[in-house]
C-alpha cells in the first residue's frame, strides 16, 4: 500500500480572536504541523473572513505567499448573501470567486447573522449550486433540519458539513439517505467505528478528511483514517480523493 495523501478540508490561517497559547502558530508553522502528519494539501480559510469581515479576510487569504510551504494551500473563501453590499451577487460573485482562485466556499450564517432560508440565501445558494463549488458549513452554524431543507431546495449544491460530531448519526443518517450531495468532514466524526459504519451504509464517496487545525491537533484526525478498517481505495478517497474530485468538478475556474 502507498502512503495516504491527506488533503485537509478544514484549516484556518491567520490570527484568531481568542487563541489558546498552545495553538497560536504562525501560518508557516501551521503548514509544517500539517505536513508532519502526512497532509500534502489543505483547503484554508482566513480567520479574519470568519471572525471580522469576509471581504477583508478573503483578501488577506489571497495575498498570502504560500510558495515554499510544505503543504499546497487551496483557497476557501467565506461568502454571504449580497443584499447588504458586502459581497457581490450572481455573475459578479462567480467572477470574484474565479479571480480569487476559490477552490471552495464557506458559509458562517450564525456568526455572520444571515438566514439560510429561501429569502435570505436563495440567490446565493443558487449561484453556488450552478457553479458546483464545494460549499462548506460547520455544524455549529446550522442544523440537520436546515441542511435537509437547503439540499431539498438546491439539489445540485455540494454541501460539506464540517465538524459533524460523534453523536450525529441518528440525525444525519436519514438526511443523507435523501440528499445525495451532502458530504461529511471527519475531524469530529469520532464515534466508535463511525467511519466503518458510514462506509457500509453510504459508501466511501461522501467522507472528506479534515483537521480543524490549528485549534485541534491533527493527530486525532489522521489516525481514524490511517487505522480505518475499510479497503485501501476507500481510505484514499476519504483522505483526499473525494475532496479533490469535488474541487475539480467546480466550474469556478472556467471563464
Amino acid at each position: 500500500m502507498g502512503r495516504l495523501l491527506f488533503f485537509d478540508a478544514n484549516c484556518t490561517l491567520g490570527p484568531r480572536t481568542a487563541p489558546r497559547p498552545e495553538t497560536m502558530l504562525t501560518d508557516a508553522e501551521i503548514a509544517a504541523e500539517l505536513a508532519r502528519h502526512g497532509i500534502t494539501h489543505a483547503l484554508c480559510s482566513h480567520a479574519h473572513a470568519q471572525e471580522l469581515d469576509p471581504a477583508t479576510g478573503n483578501r488577506r487569504l489571497a495575498s498570502l505567499d504560500t510558495a515554499g510551504w510544505p503543504v499546497v494551500v487551496r483557497r476557501c473563501l467565506v461568502v454571504m448573501p449580497h443584499h447588504t453590499g458586502e459581497l457581490p451577487r450572481a455573475g459578479r460573485l462567480r467572477d470574484y470567486l474565479r479571480e480569487n482562485q476559490a477552490a471552495a466556499v464557506r458559509l458562517c450564517p450564525r456568526v455572520h447573522g444571515f438566514s439560510m432560508g429561501a429569502t435570505g440565501s436563495g440567490e446565493l445558494l443558487a449561484t453556488l449550486e450552478e457553479t458546483r463549488i464545494p460549499t462548506l458549513i460547520e455544524m455549529d452554524q446550522t442544523s440537520w433540519d436546515e441542511l435537509d431543507d437547503v439540499a431539498r431546495r438546491h439539489p445540485g449544491l455540494r454541501l460539506v458539513a464540517l465538524r459533524v460530531g460523534y453523536r450525529a448519526d441518528r440525525m444525519m443518517y436519514p438526511v443523507l439517505e435523501r440528499r445525495a450531495r451532502i458530504f461529511i468532514e471527519t475531524s469530529n466524526y469520532v464515534g466508535h467505528r463511525a467511519i466503518e459504519h458510514f462506509v457500509d451504509t453510504f459508501g466511501a464517496g461522501r467522507l472528506v478528511f479534515g483537521t480543524a487545525a490549528p485549534v485541534f491537533a491533527p493527530g486525532g484526525a489522521v489516525a481514524p483514517v490511517l487505522y480505518a478498517e475499510v479497503d485501501e481505495a476507500a481510505k484514499s478517497a476519504i483522505a483526499g480523493g473525494n475532496l479533490r474530485r469535488l474541487i475539480e468538478d467546480s466550474s469556478v475556474g472556467e471563464a
Binding site: 489558546r20 497559547p21 498552545e22 495553538t23 502558530l25 504541523e33 508532519r36 502528519h37 502526512g38 460530531g165 460523534y166 453523536r167 450525529a168 448519526d169 441518528r170 469530529n188 469520532v190 464515534g191 466508535h192 467505528r193 463511525a194 466503518e196 459504519h197 480543524a212 487545525a213 490549528p214 485549534v215 485541534f216 491537533a217 491533527p218 493527530g219 486525532g220 484526525a221 489522521v222 489516525a223 481514524p224 490511517l226 487505522y227 480505518a228 478498517e229
Partner: protein, 270 residues
C-alpha cells in the same frame, strides 16, 4: 535495523503490538443520547486489535446510567468471556445510600474488580458526598485507582474536592477523567499535580487542542499521564493519533500508552 519511532508507526497505521497499551477510560454497550456502533465486548476488541491496545479498563454505560449493579455484572461477564482484555471498574453511584455503595464495592472486589468509577455529573451528586465515603475508606486502604469524570467548572467534582479527598484518603489513586478534553479543564485540574501525589491525569476527550499533551506532561510529569479514550462512547483511534504525534519523547509515550497504567492496575508485561 533502527527502531522506528512511535510517530512513524502511527503514521503508517500500524497496530502497536509490541508495546504495552492500556486504555484506562472505557465503557461498553448502548447509551441513550446517540447510537454506539458495535459497542459490545467483541466490537471493542476488534477496534482494540486494530490499534494494538492490550487492555481496556471498563465501566459499562449501563453502570454509569441507571443500573450500576447490572452494569458491573456486565463488566464481569465481558472480562470472563474474552479473557485477558478487560479490567473491570466497580461503578458506584452517590445518589444511592452509603450502605448500598459499600456493599456493591465489596461485591465487585470479591469478583476481582481493580478500581472504582464515579460520574458525579451524570449522577448529579457531589464527589465528596456522604454516600461515597465508606467506599473511599476501602479504596484508600487497598490503594485502588478511582476514575472520576471531570470537566471544566464541574462543581460536583471540583479541584478543591479532590484536594480535600486526597488528604483524607491518601491511599486512593485518583484518575481525573478528561484532563485532555478541554484546555480550561486542564488549567483547573493540573493545579492539583503538585498538591496531590497520587492524582493521575487521563487524556480522554472527543477532541484535543493542539499542544495539550505537551502541556499536561510539562505540568504533571510523564509518569502521571494516562491513555484514556472513552471507547466505545468515542472511538479510541483519535487518541492513539494525538499521543502518537505529540511532541514528547517515545519514552514518555510508552509511559502514557501503558507503562503507567500497568503500575497503577498491577499488570505484568505481556
Amino acid at each position: 535495523m533502527e527502531a522506528r519511532s512511535i510517530e512513524a508507526r502511527v503514521l503508517a497505521g500500524e497496530a502497536l503490538r509490541d508495546e504495552l497499551v492500556v486504555d484506562v477510560h472505557c465503557h461498553m454497550g448502548p447509551w441513550a443520547a446517540f447510537v454506539v456502533h458495535e459497542g459490545g465486548p467483541a466490537g471493542m476488541v476488534r477496534t482494540m486489535d486494530r490499534c494494538g491496545i492490550d487492555w481496556a479498563c471498563i465501566a459499562p454505560h449501563a453502570a454509569i446510567g441507571p443500573d450500576f449493579g447490572g452494569g458491573n455484572d456486565e463488566a464481569a461477564r465481558a472480562r470472563d468471556e474474552i479473557p485477558g482484555r478487560f479490567i473491570a471498574y466497580c461503578t458506584l453511584n452517590g445518589r444511592y445510600p452509603a450502605e448500598a455503595n459499600a456493599a456493591e464495592l465489596d461485591r465487585c472486589l470479591a469478583m476481582g474488580f481493580r478500581g472504582i468509577k464515579l460520574h458525579p455529573a451524570v449522577h448529579q451528586t457531589p464527589l465528596d458526598g456522604p454516600n461515597l465515603r465508606p467506599a473511599f475508606e476501602t479504596a484508600s486502604a487497598r490503594e485502588l485507582p478511582v476514575l472520576v469524570h471531570t470537566w471544566h467548572n464541574d462543581a460536583l467534582a471540583s479541584p478543591a474536592m479532590f484536594e480535600a479527598l486526597c488528604h483524607d484518603f491518601p491511599g486512593i489513586r485518583f484518575i481525573l477523567g478528561h484532563t485532555g478534553g478541554s484546555p480550561e479543564g486542564a488549567d483547573q485540574y493540573l493545579a492539583l499535580a503538585p498538591k496531590c501525589e497520587h492524582v493521575y491525569f487521563d487524556l480522554c476527550g472527543s477532541l484535543m487542542n493542539l499542544g495539550m499533551i505537551e502541556r499536561i506532561v510539562d505540568a504533571a510529569g510523564d509518569e502521571r499521564v494516562l491513555f484514556g479514550s472513552d471507547l466505545p462512547f468515542i472511538d479510541c483511534r483519535p487518541m492513539l493519533g494525538y499521543i502518537g504525534f505529540s511532541r514528547v519523547s517515545d519514552e514518555s509515550k510508552r509511559r502514557i500508552l501503558g507503562l503507567n497504567a500497568a503500575r497503577l492496575f498491577g499488570l505484568g508485561d505481556r
